[in-house]
Amino acid sequence: MQLIRPDININFLEMRKKALTFSAVVLLLSLGLIIFKGLNLGIDFTGGTLVEVRFHKQVEIADIRQSIEPLGYGKAVIQEFGSPTDILIRVQNQADVESSVISTGVLDALGNHFGPDQVEMRRVEFVGPQVGEELKTAGFMAVLYTLIGILVYVMFRFKLRFALGADAALMHDIIIVVGVFSLFDIEFSLSVVAALLTVLGYSLNDTIVVFDRIRENFDANKKKKHPEDEVIVCNQSINQTLARTLMTSLTTLLVVFSLYFFGGEVIHDFAFALIVGIAVGTYSSIFIATPIMLSLEGKFEMSDEELKELEERP
């Protein structure tokens, strides 16, 4: 079976202006969303308490709210989590109460109201205000370090303009995934950052495969009597690797969808970030990484003539 014909030749790079414009618009929209709408930051970053409980009979959310209101913890966010008997309760850190025992207060109040054997503790997460700040910094730094690490490696294996093209595509992917999280108001947690880093690795995977082919074809092209234009060679390379790019995205998506549908509520947002990231990453390795790399032609390296000149100098 073959989905992509071997002699396929789509002129991707002809579309690069349109693609870059399209991406620029999406990027601006994403940034606008992130800046003006903001992210639904989870307690990992804001600090706070999250209590997941399972009720042995179905209960009304209003009833739950009523039972924990007297605690005076301010406005709690209460929602169903996957099933009507699984309830998630989020409480912000309080300035005047020792926040680490808020979960105790909530569980006790629920036990008193509904009966201790009706409520089962599934999960308690508490993040102190300072830890939240630290995790925010750590998450940001992790993304930054990954980008730098990748830049250095690609520079070492290829050339600077390839590295810059790869990093541009990666930043593109991250911003859009984060933008999607802002758009749909999905909780942004530590595991989503982990997913982002995975998307970085994955999207780069795709880009590297294309770049590898470009490098190979560039080398072959130089030996030709009448070397072809870089754009044509790049376009050829993208087409040659197209089957692989789509195949791998497809198999990876298969498993990530399996994670999304069968992996359970806790892993849901993580899987969602991966799905968006893989889709965007596949697009960016074709439409962003290579065009950016091409647009930097001759900017960061010396041409062969210049090199020759340099060598001939006394």
Partner: protein, 518 residues
């Protein structure tokens, strides 16, 4: 392609046997002759088996400040011995200030105090007073010791909860990680771990004027303390006995009110001090303070020489039990605070395991079917490699003692997708070579050779992301990074070496093959 080295075949067979043996302890109990390095089943993370996960912050600055202020009595004694008179002795968090009455004593004072205060840097303020600042090395030492002590005390307290295999370790400069697998009572765990358990016995100042003291005129050597209900009481500042003097603590019933109480048994020195204290102060009161709050202030009716005392204070039985535990385990060197908690109930852990396994199984099945449909025989070979890969991950994780977490399961699922990527790269390359008109054998060789550098580059960059993840991540995220890394390394072996061996061996007897099933 015909010239396939034999040693590779043996290598694969060895790895395969090792992988099977390493995975076995996860499925069944292994016989005693099984190699010990392969007898460990996979560690499950707290998020899968359930349990309490706490990070506590130790107020180490307070320990340093305490040590600094403790020096005041040393300085006082030293100056008295040398007959040097002083105007003022004062301390803040890191510094002791000594102001002398007569500047003529300065040189002598400098000399003797320098000798007395090791680990402090001496400077002179403009008004001539001497400043002793604790050196950074000394402060670091004190802090480090405080963390070690904290870990020790927490360990004793957690052990008293009757749990198995708790993890208690330092995290960063001032934090301690506490993991108690299989324990559900998050509230009690926090209560037991978080109490400083500062127990003090002080005499009540019966002669002092409490009202005047409350107005601000506290007699020297005295202090005001409060009962739990807010009643004030005037105490002597001096601590006669403390938690350090306690050898044993247990729950008892206070015969007078028939309420739960805690009975203390002092160690030898404590018993002696208590004996003297009660002998000298018959008909006076002493106060028992816990965390600075007066629990009770009974009158000493007679000398108590047995070395036992009872703390009463209208406890609930549960409270008395918890108090006995923390008093037995000793006081924490500094107040601690829970700054992070991630506790998982047992049912959620089991659900995560079940759903994680489900998603792995469905993911694998989908990929296996897809590969066979798309690459036929070669797809089948890639599938064998994929199953081998799973086996290898399970074995490697078990053998290195890595911990499988929920994100770790996600990492495995993702590895499935990425592991076939190497084969997709190779197979697509082989198809290209065939399209160029090469013979089947040279097409296979060409495909593997040309795809190799791409696979290396692609996997190394993913490894970079995984390593960063490991560095920055906490518990579960670290687990994800580990499985991802192990998965990538394992997939390099299975997708390249193993598939090639199978393809070569299966075509060995058919040298005139015209067409590959790809």
């Amino acid at each position: 392609m015909q010239a396939y080295s034999r040693w590779k075949f043996w290598l694969i067979l060895t790895v395969f046997i090792a992988a099977v043996m390493g995975t076995t302890p996860n499925l069944t109990t292994v016989p005693s002759w099984w190699p010990s390095s392969m007898s460990q089943p996979l560690n499950l993370g707290l998020d899968l088996k359930g349990g309490i996960h706490l990070v506590v912050d130790v107020d180490i600055e307070k320990v340093v400040a305490q040590q600094v202020s403790d020096n005041i009595s040393t300085i006082r004694r030293t100056l008295r011995e040398e007959k040097i008179r002083y105007k003022k002795l004062d301390s803040n968090d890191t510094q002791v200030t000594v102001s002398l009455k007569d500047m003529a004593d300065l040189a002598t004072a400098e000399k003797v105090l320098k000798r007395a205060l090791i680990g402090y840097d001496m400077t002179q303020a403009e008004d001539g007073s001497l400043l002793f600042t604790i050196s950074e090395a000394e402060a670091k030492e004190i802090k480090s010791y405080a963390i070690d002590q904290t870990i020790e005390v927490i360990r004793r307290r957690v052990d008293a909860l009757g749990t198995t295999e708790p993890v208690i370790m330092r995290q960063g400069e001032r934090r301690v990680l506490v993991q108690i697998p299989g324990y559900e009572d998050s509230a009690r765990a926090k209560l037991i771990i978080g109490q400083t358990a500062q127990l003090e016995f002080k005499l009540v100042d019966e002669k002092g004027d409490l009202d005047k003291a409350l107005a601000g005129q506290i007699p020297s050597g005295d202090m005001v303390a409060y009962h739990e209900d807010g009643r004030p009481i005037l105490l002597k500042k001096r601590t006669e006995l403390s938690g350090k003097d306690v050898a044993q603590a247990r729950v008892s019933i206070d015969p007078q009110y028939n309420e739960p109480a805690v009975t203390l048994k002092f160690n030898n020195q404590g018993a002696r001090t208590f004996d003297r204290l009660t002998k000298e102060n018959v008909n006076k009161r002493f106060a028992i303070l816990l965390e600075g709050t007066v629990q009770s202030a009974p009158v000493i009716r007679e000398r108590i020489s047995g070395g036992t005392a009872q703390i009463t204070g209208s406890f609930l039985l549960e409270e008395a039990r918890n108090l006995a535990i923390v008093l037995r385990a000793g006081a924490l060197p500094a107040p601690i605070k829970v700054v992070e908690e991630r506790s998982i109930g047992p049912s959620l852990g089991q659900d995560s395991i079940d759903q994680g396994l489900d998603s792995i199984i469905y993911g694998i099945i989908a990929v296996l079917l897809f590969m066979i449909a798309y690459y036929r025989f070669f797809g089948f070979v890639a599938n064998i490699a994929l199953v081998f890969n799973m086996l290898l991950i399970a074995a490697a994780m078990s053998m290195i003692g890595a911990t499988l977490t929920l994100p770790g399961i996600a990492g495995i699922v993702l590895t499935i997708g990425m592991a076939v990527d190497a084969n997709v790269l190779i197979f697509e390359r082989i198809r290209e070579e065939i399209a160029l008109g090469k013979t089947p054998f040279s097409a296979v060789d060409g495909g593997y050779d040309k795809a190799f550098s791409t696979i290396m580059d692609a996997n190394i960059t993913t490894l970079i992301a995984a390593i960063v993840l490991f560095q920055f991540g906490t518990g579960p995220i670290k687990g994800f990074a580990v499985t991802l890394s192990v998965g990538i390394l394992a997939s390099m072996f299975t997708a390249i070496v193993v598939t090639r061996a199978i393809i070569v061996l299966s075509h060995r007897n058919n040298k005139k093959i015209k067409e590959l099933s790809i």
